[in-house]
Symmetry: D2
Subunit: 413 residues, 4 copies
């Protein structure tokens, strides 16, 4: 990633900010407030929180005696920065009907203006540059959450509203023949030292020792996953981690989220559709990915294996922007279609340092009970993914666009 001049920064900021509002444009006012479960946030909240982020971490630092536009912003739109203030209870975000949607859009416009003024007048120091990049990447993360949260929130409605007719989530194109790619043993380097830009959790670049392994040339497809289901995969404890088996029984999982496997359909942002058999399975938890792999006499790759094998030729796949417009390009099933669960628990890299202050809470404090995902999905905004990017979610969550690919020990067959 090359450094940007102030003009570029302004441009990137503006384009990025616009995208958030493009995402929410099809929503009805009432939809903005929905919060179906604790981990899903209302669309309104995402729009406000990402805006407050620029106020909190840039405007209030660069502008003397800065006054927050919304007095209660820190109370209402702080996500989890405990060192700043006690965040409003996460499971009650859907009860904050005011400020209204219009208020929030207005809030966004005002802060956009203030940011523009700042970027025009301030010296773009390294620190400002870095914080701008962080603010942009932060909102891009939320853009993906916006879409997955909207999808989940609307799916609860028995009418299954169509979010946007044009949206196509699954891409299209021929299916690659399954192949094992082989990789040799040795000391490798993963992670990055690039501070312009990477998240703290991607740093520093460091050695790991890998053994011979094989990796699938593409993610597992819906068709393949269906075979697992039909073979009783959800009924046989021997494939499952203990915690996974518990949740399968409690929640009576029988298929990926959004599937109606009797009808052979699934719910998408564009409405209910037939399951596209030759596309990567989506909306499975780590537990389902891991159980499938055990059923298939394989395993999931570690994040190091994934990065070494696929990092260099990472493809963006379909981007969020294209998904929204249904502009699906005929792409190989390499990467970028689904976030891919790895076998790696989410922890800090050797030699890493935790940033000071509230931003030290950005990534590091979630380093327990989560698994790393790699790649990027059809919900990821353009320009947001990179080979060293570490996404992470608890092992039982399924509402993100999550799939997986298989790995195996050993080299040549």
């Amino acid at each position: 990633m090359k450094l940007l001049a102030s003009g570029d920064l302004q441009e990137r900021f503006a384009v990025m900010r616009e995208l958030s509002e493009k995402i929410t444009a099809p929503l009805e006012r009432e939809d903005y407030v929905l919060q179906a479960v604790e981990e899903v946030s209302p669309a309104k909240w995402h729009l406000a929180h990402t805006t407050w982020f620029f106020e909190e971490f840039i405007l209030s630092k660069w502008i003397a005696n800065y006054e927050f536009y919304l007095k209660d912003a820190r109370k209402l739109f702080n996500s989890y920065y405990e060192t700043l203030s006690k965040p409003f209870p996460r499971d009650q975000r859907g009860l904050i009907s005011r400020p209204t949607v219009d208020d929030i859009y207005n809030y966004r416009a005002i802060i956009n203006e203030r940011m523009k003024d700042l970027l025009e007048s301030a010296v773009i120091t390294d620190e400002l540059q870095h914080l701008m990049e962080l603010g942009i990447q932060h909102e891009q993360q939320h853009q993906e959450l916006l879409l997955t949260d909207i999808k989940y929130n609307l799916s609860i409605n028995p009418q299954e509203p169509i979010f946007k007719k044009e949206a196509i989530e699954h891409g299209k194109g021929p299916i690659e023949k399954f192949q094992w790619l082989t990789y040799g043993e040795g000391l490798v380097s993963i992670g990055t030292n690039n501070h312009h830009f990477s998240f703290d959790n991607e740093r520093p670049s460091h050695y790991q020792y890998l053994y011979d392994f094989q990796l699938a040339n593409r993610p597992v497809t819906n068709k393949e996953f269906l075979t697992f289901i039909e073979d009783g995969g959800y009924k046989k404890p021997e494939y499952w981690l203990s915690d996974g088996w518990k949740i399968v029984q409690e929640q009576q999982w029988e298929a990926p989220l959004y599937w109606n496997e009797v009808e052979g359909t699934l719910y998408t942002l564009g409405g209910r559709k037939r399951i596209p058999m030759n596309r990567p399975v989506q909306h499975v938890s780590f537990y389902e990915a891991d159980a499938y792999a055990r059923w298939a006499s394989a395993r999931l790759p570690s994040e190091a294996e994934w990065e070494i094998a696929l990092g260099k030729d990472m493809k963006e796949g379909t981007t969020l922007e294209e998904t929204l417009e249904g502009k699906v390009t005929n792409l190989p099933l390499a990467t970028g279609h689904v976030w891919e669960w790895t076998a790696s628990p989410y922890t800090s890299y050797p030699q890493s340092a935790r940033p000071d202050g509230a931003l030290g809470e950005y990534n590091m404090k979630f380093m327990s009970n989560q698994m790393v995902l790699r790649g990027g999905s059809a919900y990821t905004p353009s320009g947001h993914i990179r080979p060293t990017y570490r996404n992470f979610f608890p092992a039982d969550k399924r509402w993100q666009c999550t799939g997986f690919r298989l790995a195996k020990n050993g080299g040549q067959i």
Copy 2:
């Protein structure tokens, strides 16, 4: 209540229907969706449910091959009539953003039109007359719930939005000096045989034997209740029923709902205000009422005592319509200011019969674990209360406009 000609019915129907929309008029679109706890419903849902009620119990019966305007109405807006369909989970009503608020208002207009056509063309049989009355009373009940639910839903927001600046909940006027009124022993008759109109739970009129008792001339005031608090009322288990004491500790109750007793303020539809010391205490549970009475060496009246003593001279107090506009009349603190908890569990009257069909579920199936309230409140629409009216809520609920008055055994002192 005199029988009404068809024209009167139309008029009453129209006026009543308009009131629901007057109530919700100050809401923002986003407010309509809120559901802070299971027992509180979104404003949107009330507006739709009361409309579906006319379709389900009148239009679909009187019009051959009637087609419901919203195909999913029975799925989405059936409250609890299990014999009709499996109701949508009550605790998820806030997740139904579609049909939108506009759709619901449109739905109301269409059904109003259809009802108008029906009332103009159909013979107004006794049955139709009765069902019309039921539909009207049903929506009036929901009008009170609309207001109390809106208040509760907005109160969760730390910004405490003002629902309607003009609204005044507490009435005004001088406080009556406290007096015990005495009533003599004997066989009395309570309840009613009036089928035009009463709810099934008020029928039939029947004898009860009462002993000498005394009844307060007015409900307990905020000032009086404050004395109980200051005397450690919420800290002393000896005043409390066992279930009540449990909830006091679990929920850490220290005062009525909406009070900030440190500041001496309470949250109202018109915003946060000073506690009006000389007005009846509101938003207390049966447990708090019962504990206060024990502290005061008194008890709550039975519903028969209440009806015999106060039924004849029942006053409407301030009505919902007046409360909304802040048109508070200078009224004596007799009745009609708060729903008054009685000592009577909610059960069916002797000799009563449960109606057939879905309407048999209207009242009767809630006859366990609830207490009867009598009177009527500043949230009750004009024309809705009557001496034999039996309101009922679980003993731990506080979000209704609920207060109480004291009673005592024995006659002349």
Copy 3:
């Protein structure tokens, strides 16, 4: 009940105390600690609590500078007398392995001795007489709970241990032909003024007005209840109170507690047996009784109806002592076989007064969300029942020996 001389009191006390230990005699040491759910107490706890009761309410009052034998008795064995001390959490009684069972038996012996000394030396005042009676009746109540709690606690074990081979719960004998008995309208008197002995909740005797009603000559039998099940009784919401229907679905009730209706067997203190078709159904909740009655186009009797109709000729049925030994007499199915749910919520009688001090908590503080049961069961100790006795349990509980009989409005057919 005639007054007893001190010698009689001593004798009755001793016999009663012995019975508690006869009940627990077949238990293994390990069984004494079991507490399967919050409302069920360990056998050990019952034995200790009833002993502490005599210390707390008699010995410590009559003996100057009385020292409690177990220093922590008030902490560990206070059930719910909040005015005495904070009781140990009810749901953790099963975690108190010490004092051991031997310690508890020893504790009982010591207190028996002290009580004997007291009764021999003290003047038997009215107050002492009354407290002795209360202590005896209190332990008798716990004797019934002991047995039902033991049964429930053992039933969780998949091995279904046999508590006592000899025990027969169901009585035997021919089944009475079903008959409606009719009773006329009028003012009646129920309750009692007898202070030697009645519980506070039975007092005072007072008038109630009853309408013509009919009452079944015997409780509903297992065979009759099976017809309800086979007719889909547990599947049809129209028969159920709303709270009842909720629990049916949550707990997946399909038959009375302890039934295996596929096998046609039930679990008893004497082991698993065939369902005795011609004996009263046991272990049903109020909700099941009420649903059955609605299915049968009947209703449950009020407690006043029950007392007026059956109080005079109340039979003891089989007693706890006989049940334990399997000494089942060939008795008519009149009363005394099962506690019979009535339609009456548990509240205080008109003109009643709540006792002062801790004993004021004995009954009165449970007067919400419970239903009255009348009669007495095969688990009730001899001499414990009387026409005015009011038993009470929450509407969803089934682990007591609870059945019901039908009632109907109207007189001669």
Copy 4:
């Protein structure tokens, strides 16, 4: 570990089996049944489960037509081998009063006999040798759990029973001066290929790349941890992982488990004692360890760092056998005093293979949401620890004998 002749195996088996019963010897019958929370099992259950293990995995395989001594053993005493049978619900193990304690001791004796016969008559194949070793190590694991579970179960009792007067948990001796030991960067090998004996989760030996690091010469002491508490460690979110902070607030943690920090005492197997300031802190969760490390500007070591630095010179510390007898030797605070939380989530080693059949469930299926602990504690039986041993528990659990030591990046200072 050298291979053992059949005679040695018999001897080791017998000695090990005896130890389990030595541990439980001080218990009262009633104590054997206690299960205070789901993750804690009754003593009785441990004694039976470890016995069933020999039946299930050895006797029933080596003896034709083997008949299980207890017919329900697989139902009642299967812990989590889902491929064998549906285990009895874990949270209800405390409700299984039968088979009684005597039955269980008898069961143990019978199986001991059968095992003796087998070992005398069978050819000791590699497989049998390995399974014997597994059975022994398995019961040793349960011996540690037995003690920690007993401690927790007794601690709930407000009387805080003394389990065994002689027991001393904390060792004694002078405190080593704190020192950072430094270790250089490079490729290291951890894990083992030893199949006689290691658990599957320790295999295979494999490379990892380590960077320069420093490791404390001893675990953090109570005195040091107290400084953290006094500095507000439990009140400041900045030190805590997000999941940890949540549990601190929910459970209102203010100190390690068993501490009464106001009194300066802690509950031990030998009764309540003064906190031994110079001994390693025990009974802290991973979250507390991690928070302390952040507060101390340090971190926890990875399991590889721990193994490389301390594996070679691992000391046994005080053993379970010595702890029970209070035979506390004057040992350096090196290792073996507390299980030490590492920064490593519990996952499988590269190139590892999951065993077939039910034993494949032994370790592998718990590889999510747990953290690795290294070392061994004063509750670990003699002969059970080794440098490559991986203990694991969820990050929030504190009832094991768990402490930690600090690590740091970088080499020489």
